[in-house]
Symmetry: C2
Subunit: 234 residues, 2 copies
């Protein structure tokens, strides 16, 4: 079965966590809106399905349509060796992914504190305040947590010796924070040596490395979650 | 097995979605921090477990510790008849719960747009702007979506004839918005007749009704997710 991923074609965004999992698994998939345009995606969102997703990304797997990033990863993880086999292990990795999800919302809110439908340019002052708090309070809390989990695992990856999809997601978090906040992140990285090493370990896995060098990897840009605004990176 | 729920003892918050599921299921549980104080909760958060949760709520089920609200409900749903039996149905209800989770973040952000660690009093102006956008854009989008799903189900509940935990969560959303924004919600309710009827149907289920009248149901208050601030309810 060939998967069909539906996500905004111009950004990494939340779809990137799914793309990374599909690429690492080496499974066959189409990135539909990139091949056919956004119309193919909105047709599904507005279509006659009894179980329409609320928003992209969503994955078509045969006749199933699966929405919500962490839910898609839960589905893919057990089918492609990107999660433990036991239910308790799957639940744990999913729990960590949901914590990544929470963090991604807060990353997005650094440039959109007044809501997702206003432009950044209309909320610059609020964005500055929110970003200051994000770096003083929230980054240490979230990344400190994952650093601790990684240390407890005693292995190269979050659950130990084997990579799971949450390792791919943490790679993306480190890469994204480096892109969006190069100065702040450079100052913070000494506090999270484990996560930095994890990032490097993931980046050189053959399937991930090939993906990152391909045109399938959309460059970071200022329409995505991780945006580089000089005013926010002091 | 008797479950142990750990959550802040003074608020409904995110723990309420778990409390409602435990109560509807009629299962035995202890609300530990309400019985023993917050120390019992922080002891687990800071304890020696290899799989510590990031934040409350979390559930102890025997030797397992399960965190993240939607993940706890995924666990409870399949064990207590609060979710479909087939995997595709479980995934669908979980996906809907994750969309509720997204909405809960945005509800919280109406009074905390500049971040969770500053006081509301320090972000009143930003809260006003965010709340205006919340009601003009986000409430219609989220509640319109759930209204549509409910209509498609053709039954009394979101998946049809049988109640799932996401119905309990939507009850809580309607009740909470009524508490926090009585004027705005009264004006909006004609747009969501299905969700209002769902709220009423859930409220009179025997286990839920008994819970709502008990002291186990903490009243809404201005430390929780749903806060009644006159300035935000114009």
């Amino acid at each position: 079965m060939r998967y069909e991923l539906y996500y905004w074609p111009m950004i990494q965004g939340r779809g990137e966590y799914v793309r990374l999992a599909l690429e690492e698994a080496g499974t066959s998939y189409r990135d539909v809106a990139r091949e056919e345009g956004i119309g193919a995606m909105t047709a599904v969102l507005e279509g006659a399905s009894d179980t329409p997703p609320f928003a992209p990304p969503f994955l078509k797997a045969g006749r199933r349509i699966i929405g919500q990033t962490a839910n898609i990863l839960l589905f893919l993880g057990s089918r492609h060796g990107l999660a433990p086999k036991a239910e308790a292990g799957q639940s744990w990795v999913h729990q960590l992914q949901l914590t990544v999800t929470d963090f991604v919302v807060e990353i997005h809110d650094t440039h959109h504190p007044l809501g997702p439908t206003l432009y950044y340019e209309d909320q610059r002052a609020a964005a500055k305040k929110r970003t200051a708090e994000f770096w003083s309070e929230r980054v240490p809390k979230f990344l400190g947590y994952f650093e601790q989990i990684l240390a407890k695992s005693g292995g190269a990856y979050v659950t130990g010796r084997r990579l799971t999809y949450v390792d791919l997601s943490l790679f993306q978090i480190v890469a994204g924070l480096r892109y969006a906040f190069p100065r702040r992140m450079a100052a913070f990285e000494p506090d999270i040596p484990g996560l930095v090493a994890l990032h490097d370990r993931v980046a050189i896995r053959p399937n991930v490395a090939a993906y990152l060098q391909s045109e399938r990897r959309i460059p970071f840009n200022e329409d995505g979650i991780f945006r580089r605004y000089k005013a926010l990176d002091v």
